[in-house]
């Protein structure tokens, strides 16, 4: 990106990608150490401290850039309304992250441990449940609305590409995933009605909404690919990637929870949530970089826009 905005500082999107890669590399070492020694402490340090910090950082980036993207549009522009919903979804994501990764965790970073007295566990569980609802189904609904409006804009401009065979296969997989969610819920309620906890039930609408988001992501991804890779397609492509990753992680969690896979085989999914979170932050960051690039290039002399050989 610095090639486009000569003289500007390092790119934000590169920073997000760099942080993700660094965090995952550390995760590989941590996981290997845990497998070798069985030391849970190092895993807790990684997920409860470094991991929580990374999630908070990415959700902060997402909120900041989504707000910036929304402000770049005037009220009558359709994508402005799309970014409004995405911004609201980012607020929910941020709040959800604060609640679930910070306030609901038994770690030294949690201020609840220092201010609350008495039944700390129940307070943390309550905060975690609130965060799950806000960062789960409520966020999904708002994202769904934003992405639907973006797809409508593509259609109005005649840029909605025809879906290919691979897209249709993915849509089939999405429908299959939605069916798994519904069947899983019905089975859980029937076979273990007492075992259905509020915590688990709160995730059900989010999982189902995720399958609808996945449908939108497939359509947006195809439109982005057909445009060719510029800033605009990177924005909507990043959203599509974020939803794909989140859906995959969610599906793996479902299959593990219902005994299809052993948890030791799906442990790698713990780390995939970070790239998913990064992708949600990357999308509005690309939008921000596009507007910034446009302004910087206009401010640059025409002669300097032509790069030396």
């Amino acid at each position: 990106m610095s090639l486009l905005t000569q003289g500007s500082s390092a790119s934000v999107t590169r920073a997000i990608l760099g942080i993700t890669v660094a965090h995952l590399v550390i995760g590989i070492f941590v996981h290997a150490k845990w497998l070798a020694s069985g030391d849970l402490h190092i895993l807790r340090l990684y997920f409860d401290y470094e991991g929580a910090f990374v999630f908070l950082l990415f959700s902060t980036f997402q909120l900041f850039f989504a707000t910036s993207a929304y402000r770049a549009f005037s009220s009558h522009q359709p994508l402005g309304t799309a970014w409004f919903y995405i911004m609201l979804a980012s607020v929910c994501g941020f709040v959800g992250t604060v609640f679930t990764k910070l306030l609901a965790v038994d770690s030294a970073l949690n201020p609840v441990n220092y201010v609350a007295s008495g039944a700390l566990d129940s307070v943390r569980v309550l905060l975690g449940n609130v965060g799950t609802v806000i960062g789960g189904p409520i966020q999904m609904i708002l994202f769904g609305a934003g992405l639907y409006l973006a797809i409508r804009v593509y259609r109005q401009l005649g840029m909605l590409a025809r879906l290919k065979v691979t897209d249709k296969i993915l849509i089939g997989a999405t429908m299959f995933y939605a069916c798994i969610v519904v069947i899983g819920i019905v089975q859980a309620v029937r076979s273990h009605p007492d075992g259905v906890t509020a915590e688990r039930a709160l995730t059900w609408p989010g999982d189902y909404l995720l399958s609808l988001l996945l449908l939108e992501a497939i359509i947006l991804r195809r439109a982005a690919v057909e445009m060719g890779w510029g800033f605009v397609s990177k924005v909507w492509g990043a959203f599509a990637a974020a939803i794909f990753l989140t859906s995959f992680c969610s599906l793996m969690n479902w299959l593990t929870a219902y005994g299809i896979f052993d948890w030791t085989h799906t442990a790698f999914v713990w780390y995939l949530w970070y790239p998913a979170s990064a992708a949600f932050a990357l999308a509005p960051a690309y939008q921000w970089e596009a507007t910034r690039t446009a302004k910087i290039r206009l401010a640059t002399k025409v002669e300097e826009l032509e790069l030396p050989a």
């Binding site: 401009l157 446009a294 290039r297």
Partner: protein, 179 residues
């Protein structure tokens, strides 16, 4: 003689001029072999489409130099070779040397506009947008009409206006240099 001429016209009509989008798909290797062969046959005989293909290649090379450090997605060597050939064929008697370095050849207006637009909307959309402004020659007024709504839709009013303003001044500068 008339029947020969009619036969030739009929033959030419059987290969309609491919759009820039189709030429781009051909460069990206996305056409089926049958269609690719027809395009190649047409290009062998149609100078106008060959020039358009070279402009596309030039624009994409310029775009690749501008935004990516990674390997280009199409055969740059072949593209550069074609560009060299075109330059050699079109060079005038005032040039001092036969080997004009490709890096110093001024990009055409089409190439500059394609490169600048592709940064934001991707090369395929940029090609489609420029196609809509192209009636034998790129039309400046038509450009604002066609491109501005699309860019401002995706980037917002101010950034969209900045992109269009930048493209238009690149346009003016390129025309100034060319004249």
């Amino acid at each position: 003689m008339r029947s020969t001429l009619r036969g030739r016209l009929n033959w030419l009509r059987s290969f309609p001029h491919p759009s820039s989008g189709v030429l781009l798909e051909s460069l990206d290797g996305e056409l089926d072999p049958n269609r690719e062969a027809k395009i190649k046959t047409h290009l062998g005989r149609c100078v106008r489409c060959r020039v358009r293909l070279e402009e596309l290649q030039e624009g994409l090379q310029f775009f690749q130099r501008t935004v990516t450090a990674s390997a280009p997605q199409f055969d740059v060597e072949a593209g550069l070779q074609q560009l060299k050939t075109a330059l050699r064929e079109g060079e005038n008697s005032n040039r001092q040397s036969d080997s004009i370095p490709d890096e110093k050849a001024a990009p055409t207006l089409y190439a500059r506009l394609l490169s600048e637009l592709a940064i934001y909307v991707g090369k395929r959309t940029a090609v489609q947008l420029l196609d809509q402004c192209d009636q034998e020659l790129l039309q400046r007024d038509r450009f604002s009409e066609v491109v501005e709504p699309v860019i401002t839709t995706f980037l917002g009013k101010h950034a969209g206006a900045a992109v269009v303003a930048n493209v238009l001044r690149i346009w003016d500068r390129t025309q100034q240099v060319a004249s």
